[in-house]
Amino acid sequence: MTKLMLLGDEAIAQAAIDAGISGIYAYPGTPSTEITEFIMNSKEAKEGMIHAKWSVNEKTAMESALGMSYAGKRAMVCMKHVGLNVAADAFVNSAITGANGGIIVVSADDPSMHSSQNEQDSRFYGKFALIPILEPSNQQEAYDMVLYGFELSEKLKTPVLLRVTTRLAHSRAGVLRMPGRDQNTLKLPDNLKQFILLPAIARKQYKTLVAKQEDYTAMSESGGFNRLIEGTDKTMGIITTGIAYNYLMENFPDRKVSFPILKIGQYPLPRKLVEKLYSECSSLLVLEEGYPLVEEMLRGYLNHGKAIHGRLDGTVPFDGELNPNIVAVALGLKDTRGRDVPSVVVGRPPSLCKGCPHISSYNALNEALETWSKGRVFSDIGCYTLGALPPFNAINSCVDMGASITMAKGAADAGLNPSVAVIGDSTFTHSGMTGLIDCVNDNSAVTVMILDNSTTAMTGGQDSAGYGKIEEICKGVGVDPDHIVVLNPLPKYHAENIAAIKRELGYQGVSVIIPRRECIQTASRKLKAAKKEAVE
């Protein structure tokens, strides 16, 4: 069989299809988006009638997947690391309900924050929820772990967390496929109270979950994704997690390392293997992509045992993604570096596309706010966050999905007037509209601009859940229809757009301004497709 050249994300998606999932649920988020897109575009998935549509946010995705598991079928749910914060309520409780049909939660972390606002490590969530975690070191393992993960999930009746990072998600390598498996048939849980977390039942279920930890650890010892590789030089033992193993091996061109290595790919940690390595070696070096989770566990608070090196003692920097050079330095090997970057090279930050509707929206907003002091615009997560950069310098916050509206409300409550929120259409349905109800119920003096480009643009133009119904949603939650204003963000309407924004800034209640024009990227893609169709 020939190998397929797949991104880590695509390997996960192909494996999910081959493992017989009946549904994938997700909200787009770099670096996880391509998993769901691959399944949406897969012929096999269409033939298998695999449910593949974007969810409104990660929480609804997680819950839908849990419902599919309840019905006995296999489901995958995907998100970026910060999406797991949104899904956390459902995620943590799903550990207590347990699974019926297999369920894998994929969380794609982004160390070094290539496209994110933090670099939180999802393994902590898995450990916190007390469920098994799988962490691949390469694309083939990502594929294999999905197949294994669904078996594990059904065998132990638990959701399984698959944790990847940007570098694996967005890197391509050869992957060998296994024969596929049919989807499960509809089969409700044997115990129809399994998913009712009333305190009396939850207490029982939680005890079961705690008791199952030994089984989970036993699977980690025997699962095959944790491997102790013998070495002759016992002065140091090395523990690697996930892709850190690759950076270690990169430093040994013949791939022969004299130190014993414990390669971790499955959690809870395999206690026996860890103990064996610890007892054999006089010190340990822990190389993990992400926070020092394993290192902290091994050291304990006081670290009275042997010397353990890693991110906590500065052998490896505390923050940021690993790479071969950082690992070389940690091993005491020679660091390499070419010439310095010449001083003529200047920064080239990302920017809004030429013709982007947000440009007109920000130009109008900036002018409308000219008469007031600066610092009144709360924004959100999306392309329009680039409004923070010159030439716009138009926004003052970007924290988490939906925070623009509620932060504007809090500031208005504190007396900031006018107080403005700027949010995209997809972010609005993700987590903004609940906050809008808070504003309405309090009659807060906020001006909410919903930049409606009719897509989820930043992640590549996925469907937006509120498409065609933004005004209806605003009216439905109680915004006065006289203060729901739709604008066309084009330079030729600049003057009237400024006037409309100014009018609403003066209104002492909730107003919603909707500058609406399709994203220039999706619009030109559609135009191309239409032309192509016309030719054919």
Binding site: T33, H170, N323, P324, V344, R348
Partner: protein, 194 residues
């Protein structure tokens, strides 16, 4: 044998089309491959790079170690310089000379070219003009690919068949334009070397 390649450019310039062609030709030659791509925020007109590794043995890391790249292939001159710390002492720099100016503090072209000229092993060519003269204005990236091919340890024939494969859906004319662009770049680099 290994070739560690940094592909550089600006988001939207399509550096991944070069990666796809090299990847296809590498697989066709029985080589191993890893390719770390850039997705997401940085694609919006910002600087982008991709790590492409090919070898006749199993590749460990998705990332190329700093200072050990054999080749920088850039579709934009200033961007080619951004990755010099990645390039090994005897590595080659292959770059387009047409600037992509979407920032208002772009340095004077003379100073960018002067930095490129400082490198003994470099090929700098105006891929846009070469492509346009061939009537293949949209194939500048294939000119760059052609100019990089003598340094890739992959036969040019494998590269030609990769190009045919990639563009065959678009018809024979498009295949020919891209092959012409490739040949022009290839000739430019081999003439320079001799």
């Amino acid at each position: 044998m290994k070739r560690d390649i940094i592909l550089a450019g600006v988001g939207g310039q399509g550096i991944l089309s070069i990666a796809t062609a090299i990847g296809m030709a590498a697989l066709d030659s029985g080589l191993n491959l890893k390719q770390a791509e850039v997705h997401g925020m940085s694609q919006r007109g910002g600087d982008v790079s991709s790590n492409l590794r090919i070898a006749d043995y199993e590749i460990a890391s998705d990332l190329i170690p700093c200072g050990q790249a054999d080749l920088i292939i850039s579709v934009e001159p200033m961007e080619s310089l951004r990755y010099l710390p990645m390039l090994s002492e005897d590595g080659w720099l292959i770059t387009n000379t047409q600037p992509f100016i979407n920032i208002n503090n772009y340095p004077p072209m003379e100073s960018v070219m002067a930095e490129i000229e400082l490198l003994k092993k470099h090929i700098a060519l105006d891929a846009e003009t070469i492509a346009k003269d061939l009537g293949a204005a949209r194939s500048a990236n294939m000119v760059i690919l052609g100019a990089a091919t003598p340094f890739l340890a992959i036969s040019p024939d494998k590269m030609r068949s990769a190009i045919r494969n990639i563009f065959k859906r678009k018809g024979d004319d498009i295949v020919k334009l891209n092959l012409d662009a490739f040949e022009a770049g290839y000739r430019f680099a081999t003439d320079r070397q001799n």
